[in-house]
């Protein structure tokens, strides 16, 4: 027929149009509205303040320091320096008056007013308080600290032009006014750079063949809230059946810091490490998931979080390394890159100070960014979702730049989402693409697949976007929502990882 080509073109156009219409209809059907009965349900909860101050056992001269006094003072010291960072960041001196008095207020106000472009800031990231004097009438408290961690930085536009992370020896007086404790004097007697050298321990792990893991019915923010030991045990068995020797998990900040969940989450983390250790599975914990705004006054809370989770991880023998932040390069898309840099440098330094025995990495979103901060890290890790055929080349470039540090491709994945007629993908295509990718990365020190399961109910905090995008994201699993193994799982199971 002479019109055969025209007919084919027309049919293709019709098919694409049909797919488009289906997608639009499905999108509008999936839009959800949530109705709240009370304002407090609709609003975000206020963040809790946690002190990042510890105490020596000494008693001060004068009045006895009781536990409730320590609690009040620790909270006020933390809040005061949070307020300082906030004031410098926003250029608002009013908040200083609530936390500083006399000389300290004059000085902090001077610092703020002499920096109208708000380039400089300073954040307190923890200290041990050594009480010196406490007035008999409770009106003045003096302390020293020999290990007060402060980060100081200067930002010019989007460039971090100066950064300093130190342990300071400080002398501080607080006076008790009607409105509460305020810092009246603050002087620094000495300082030393907080060492953030990479770990000197060797990398003696086998090649890591692993999976990014959430349970089937409780992904993302549900993982720790709905933690179930029996389900974890079943999933570990599945993971080992697939020939994997590692899992990557995510430690949400809220779950490990909020007073109504922290204790339970830590117990569950200990259980998870124990179960995986018994199964000879290495764990790559990823920190600061769902960490949003990186404004400097929020950084002390990060110290609190690290103090809670790092000792647990350090005491386990099967933590391969700690992924300090998932895809921090994407944060630079909506926050000042200089601020992001200052934050991550601080976190690296503080983490190494708390748990120097652990190895650290950052899970970059792509190979291009993989070697950023390489000199500060022990493991280089990135995610590979680009063209599968480029995976090997990308890896080799990273490996060269990593300068003999292990390189882990901590996320790869293919979707099996089939909207219609094998578009955009299907089970067969998923398996095929995964095979290609894995073969390209067989020389790496580790590859972890996203993910163990399909997740039909995506966490809106983790995945948003169009119906199309969500559909793709829901179907990356090696097992489908009915717990049936997919062909891609077989590919993964049979694949062998070699280190050249």
């Amino acid at each position: 027929m002479r019109n055969r080509p025209l007919y084919s073109i027309g049919l293709t156009i019709l098919l694409l149009f049909t797919v488009y219409v289906i997608a639009i209809i499905a999108q509008s059907m999936s839009d959800r509205h949530t109705e709240y009965s009370y304002f407090y349900e609709a609003l975000d909860e206020l963040p809790e303040t946690h002190e990042i101050v510890t105490w020596t056992d000494d008693q001060p001269k004068g009045r006895t320091l009781e536990e409730n006094n320590k609690y009040d003072l620790a909270l006020k010291i933390t809040e005061s320096w949070e307020a300082y960072a906030l004031a410098m960041d926003k250029g608002n001196s009013n908040v200083l008056k609530d936390y500083f008095a006399t000389t300290a207020l004059e000085r902090s106000t001077w610092v703020l007013e002499s920096d109208p472009e708000r380039r400089a800031n300073m954040v307190m990231m923890g200290m041990t308080v050594d009480p010196q004097v406490y007035h008999l009438d409770g009106s003045l408290f003096q302390f020293r600290s020999d290990d007060a961690v402060y980060v100081r930085y200067l930002i010019d536009g989007e460039r971090l032009s100066a950064f300093s992370l130190t342990k300071d020896c400080i002398l501080t007086n607080l006076i008790l006014r009607q409105s509460g404790w305020k810092i009246a004097n603050h002087e620094r007697d000495c300082s030393e750079d907080l060492p953030i050298r990479p770990s000197t321990l060797p990398w003696d792990l086998p090649p890591l063949k692993g999976i990014n893991y959430y349970p089937k019915n409780s992904p993302w923010s549900g993982f720790w809230k709905d933690y179930d030991k029996a389900i974890i045990a079943e999933d570990i068995e599945k993971i080992t059946d697939l020939g994997a020797n590692s899992v990557r998990i995510f430690l949400n900040v809220d779950d490990f810091t909020r007073s109504d969940s922290a204790k339970r989450s830590i117990e569950n983390l200990e259980n998870f490490l124990e179960q995986t250790q018994d199964a000879s599975i290495y764990v790559i914990p990823t920190l600061f998931d769902f960490r949003g705004d990186l404004s400097p006054h929020t950084w002390p809370a990060d110290r609190y979080y690290l103090d809670r989770v790092l000792p647990i991880l350090a005491s386990a023998s099967n933590v391969a390394y700690v992924d300090l932040k998932n895809e921090i390069d994407l944060d630079e898309g909506y926050q000042n890159p200089a601020l992001v840099e200052a934050w991550i440098r601080t976190i690296i330094g503080v983490a190494r100070d708390i748990a120097p025995e652990l190895k650290y990495s950052i899970g970059w979103s792509n190979a291009e960014n993989a070697t950023r901060y390489a000199s500060l890290l022990d493991v280089i890790s990135y995610h590979e979702y680009g063209d599968a055929k480029d995976s090997k080349l990308n890896f080799e470039r990273v490996k060269i730049a990593a300068n003999s540090k292990p390189v882990i491709v901590s996320e790869i994945g293919e979707t099996s989402y089939d909207l219609t007629l094998g578009m955009p993908s299907n089970l067969k295509k998923q398996a095929k693409h995964l095979q290609t990718r894995l073969d390209q990365l067989s020389a790496s020190d580790g590859v972890l697949v996203w993910s163990l399961y399909d997740y039909p109910d995506l966490d809106p905090k983790a995945v948003s976007g169009s119906f199309w995008h969500k559909g793709i994201q829901k179907n990356f699993g090696l097992f489908n929502k009915f717990d049936q193994i997919k062909p891609a799982a077989q590919v993964f199971k049979e694949w062998k990882l070699h280190v050249e």
Partner: protein, 352 residues
Amino acid sequence: MRIVSPNLALIFCLSSQAETLTSDAFGMFQGRDDERSQWAGEHRICDAQGCKSSSLANAELHNIAEFFGEKSLTVGSGIGMSLGLFHDVNGNLIRDGIAQAWVEEGDQNQTINVKDGVATGTFTVGTNAGLHIASITSDGKQSVRQTFRTVPDLSSVELGIETTGEDARAGDVFRFTTKPLTDQYGNPAPIGFMTWLLMKNEQGEHAFFPMISQYKNATDMINTTSMRGDYRYQLFSSYQSSDTYTLTVVPRRLTSIQDIEVDLELSTNVMFTQIHGLTTDQNHLVEDATQIEVTVHEANGLQSTYQLWSLDGNVEGRFAIHPGAFPVKLTINSDLGNLEREISESDVRRVQ
């Protein structure tokens, strides 16, 4: 030009060779800041050649801020702390030195050591309750004088009641007055010092009421109208109790009647009788609702008894009589005593 310290905790970029980067206790700044350069402590200065630390010491003493407390100390035993905060003209803490702490009461002086901007001395306060002054001096500088108050030693205030030994008569208002409320050093208890009087009788009835010092002593009054007999009472404070005292309340007596009006209703042979002005020995009318029993003794030998209640010192009742009743004798009985009155036929008004 980018400079990185060997252990990677410090980086900075200088836009020119002449620039410096300084960090101090309050942060970091580039270039020159004359104000901050006077803040004592460690300054870390980085330039094209690298980083160096220097420590700026405090200048000479400029002012002393004194904190004296606690603000209310008990005489004779309270320990107050005099704390000085020492600054130079730039607001830096004076790290070491010598000072004198002084308390006006007893002209007490102490040499105290200044360390890290703070010096402390403790004083045991004297025995005179009241407002006192403290200050700290050093190197020709003096703090603003602080005032503090010492309060009486309330635990040593002995309790007692001034008594006359006289009985109270029921219906009287009886006043209790404490003996002077002073501590062991003679300081009067402050206004508002709380004591309690507990009073009880043999039947186990008791009353408990506060007596609050109005300066030097406390007083209170009770109404003895419903009281009879012996009552034991005792004064308490949070610390001490007094001896036990006895108050005897002598009952009132019904002593007189002002007059009696009688209207004889002829149709019913009923005497409508009003007894006015039932009066006690204290010349008070009997209280309202006092129970009065009236017995009507007729001349014919008949008698009848009526239960009545007083109002405004008066009692009224309707008494049925019989032929030959007069003269009628009324006996009026109550807890306060008994009276008798005779009513003759000529004393009555006849009404239809």
